[in-house]
Amino acid sequence: MSIPRDFARGIAPGPNRSYAPPPIHAAAWGTWLAAVVVVLAVTRNPLYLLFTLTWIGWATLLVNRIAQNAAPGADTLGLPPVQFSPLTFGLVVVTLSALFNGLNVHVGTHVLFRLPRGWPLIGGPITAEALLYGALNGLALTGLFAAFVLLNRVVPVRNLVRLAPRAFYPVAVVVTIAVTFVPATVRQFASIREAQAIRGHRVRGMRSWLPLMLPLLIGGMERALQLAEAMMARGFAAGDEQPQSTLWVRAALILGMVALLAGMLLHLVWRMPVWGPVLLLVGALLIGGAVWRMGQGQTYTVYRPTAWRVQDSVICGGALLTALAFLVELPGLARTSALYYPYPALTWPQLDLGMGLSTWGLLPPVFVLLWSLAKQDGPANGADVSDVSEQ
């Protein structure tokens, strides 16, 4: 019961400055995230993992500092995030995953202790190798989580929504409305709770939530009708005028799916060297074409596009290089060093200088954040510096 009240407080009017556009384009962040996912999926080399996690952590810290300095509510929903911090998440997941792997996989030379053979699955030698490998898996997962959390914090919803292809304009509007209506829904809920309390309602057991949920739902649907009317009055494409997916588009989708399915089977099961990938490509192109064709039917334009700057190109370039190094054998880089196994006996992870450097491709966002922090701190920091010099 106390949760919604907290939200209501979060939404309470506060300083409300106009917002500055984020310094990095949403698509650049997206590319960066994709590269992080590739690296973390491919490598279990603790050194590379640590590099990557460090860059993510650094960026997170910088974002935290920027957020502290900014006006409260400047460009957030005003809702307190409830998610656990990546640090907590990491501790739990690394521990769990080390335990699980350690108890399940009885391979390795460094035996720590033995569980009785008779215990199903977990019986047998418990090895340092298995524990370590589990922990590394947990570390990769933590990195993924932290990267997503970071993205969620730095990219405003509206910019994220605009990344959607034109064909998905209606869905994008749905998401925009849903996010826009959150504060109003919270307020509604708070006043419904009051309204029900004054007619003697008490929260006791599950059924007593009905008097709170039903008015919210009914009121919400009534509001939806009014909103729909308002949208139509301002020229939002009504059902009959929106491009329907034509038979051709549907045919392309079906053919594309069939091609993908066949391509997948050929490539992964029967291992046809040429036909598999070709069919996969054809399928993807057909579906991409269908999406593009549907997008053509949407006539809307965008009022405020976020500018694509040099820094965005740099971020994308760096991320692509990193992803490439971890996906494909590049001359001069020992990609195999990324595929580290502790089994059958613990070894020191191999550090290939080139591969290590290639994770630095994930660094440009950190530089951009540092730069914008410095800009933001400008006058305020001046005072700090003079304080320090006096001491």
């Binding site: 949760i3 939200f7 999926a41 279990r44 809702l79 409830v82 769990l96 995953s97 699980f100 399940n104 996989v105 490998y133 898996n137 947990g138 990769a140 997962l141 993924l144 989580f145 997503f148 959390v149 993205l151 969620n152 998905f168 209606p170 509007v173 749905v174 998401v175 409305i177 849903a178 209506f181 959150v182 829904t185 599950m206 059924r207 939530w209 009905l210 739902l217 919400g220 649907m221 509001r223 939806a224 009708l225 909103l227 729909a228 494409a237 929106q242 329907q244 997916s245 549907r250 989708l253 799916m257 399915l261 997948m264 490539h267 399928g283 579906i287 269908a290 999406v291 549907m294 996906l327």
Partner: protein, 288 residues
């Protein structure tokens, strides 16, 4: 005209079917890819791109479903309705994120299932998928699991439509039986959701197939191991979710169903304005 629309219906069905099939194949890869990897003699090298190919395929499947689902033309009404309902449902998600007690219980499935049941598979899919998207945006619980959650929740909403013939066949529309059927359906999905949600996580725990230790392990063994993993890590939570869903539907299902039905007519209608001859004569008089 009718032939075209029948064809369109068939095509639409085919798309749903293919996307679901491919989604399943891609979701379940940890079980069959390792089996392939060790049955062939070319070794592991070739199938090492399997996870990426399959992740991409999952994404494409989702895009296709989304396109097909909204392709039938979303009106301002459906867009606004979904937007508002998703915003309500996303706030409900705070309950399962912020209240530590009830394990895997989450109240979001109630509306997803009922919207799918009443308003059809298209809105059901969007309701499921977008609830997960929006709620993870506003709660900050966005993670690598998000695409899988969206896909699965979309399936839940989409599949709720199969309760319609079930309820209709048993002649229970508008009666308690209707809610019971929906509650059982919700319970089933409560469990399945957990099973599916764990699969994306699984390769991280055991490693991707190219790093798979113990080459002797086959498909069956993977399933077995997954079962243990699942029983240890999630079964408890998922049982709570299952029970929660059943109770949720039993307690709230009836009243919420009535509300959704009450609004059904207002959100879907066909209008037929009739221009009478009188309008002709008047407009002619106007022009003259």
């Amino acid at each position: 005209m009718t032939r075209t629309s029948t064809l369109a219906t068939w095509m639409s069905g085919a798309i749903f079917l293919l996307a679901t099939l491919m989604g399943l194949v891609a979701f379940l890869y940890p079980f069959w890819v390792p089996a392939l990897a060790q049955s062939g003699n070319t070794g592991l090298a070739h199938s090492q791109d399997a996870p990426y190919v399959l992740a991409l395929l999952t994404g494409i499947c989702f895009v296709v479903l989304l396109l097909e689902v909204q392709g039938a033309g979303m009106s301002a009404k459906t867009v606004a309705l979904l937007g508002v309902l998703i915003s309500i449902n996303s706030l409900l998600r705070f309950v399962d994120l912020a209240v530590p007690g009830p394990g895997g219980f989450s109240p979001i499935f109630l509306l997803i299932i009922l919207v799918g049941y009443i308003y059809g598979p298209r809105l059901g899919f969007l309701m499921g998928a977008l609830t997960l998207l929006v709620s993870s945006i506003i709660t900050g619980a966005m993670g690598p699991w998000l695409p899988y959650q969206m896909f699965t929740a979309g399936w839940i909403g989409m599949s709720a439509v199969i309760c319609r013939p079930l309820v209709g066949g048993l002649g229970m529309r508008g009666r308690l039986g209707e809610v019971v059927v929906l509650a059982l359906f919700a319970g089933l999905w409560g469990l399945l959701y957990g099973v599916i949600m764990n699969i994306w996580f699984w390769p991280f725990v055991v490693g991707t197939p190219d790093q798979y230790w113990e080459p002797g392990i086959g498909g069956m063994q993977t399933v077995q191991r997954y079962a243990v993993f699942y029983a240890v890590t999630s079964l408890g939570w998922d049982l709570v979710r299952m029970a929660g869903n059943v109770v949720l539907l039993l307690v709230f299902g009836g009243p919420v169903l009535r509300v959704l039905q009450r609004f059904q007519r207002r959100f879907t209608f066909v209008y037929s304005p009739v221009s009478q001859p009188v309008s002709q004569t008047v407009s002619q008089a106007n022009d003259a």
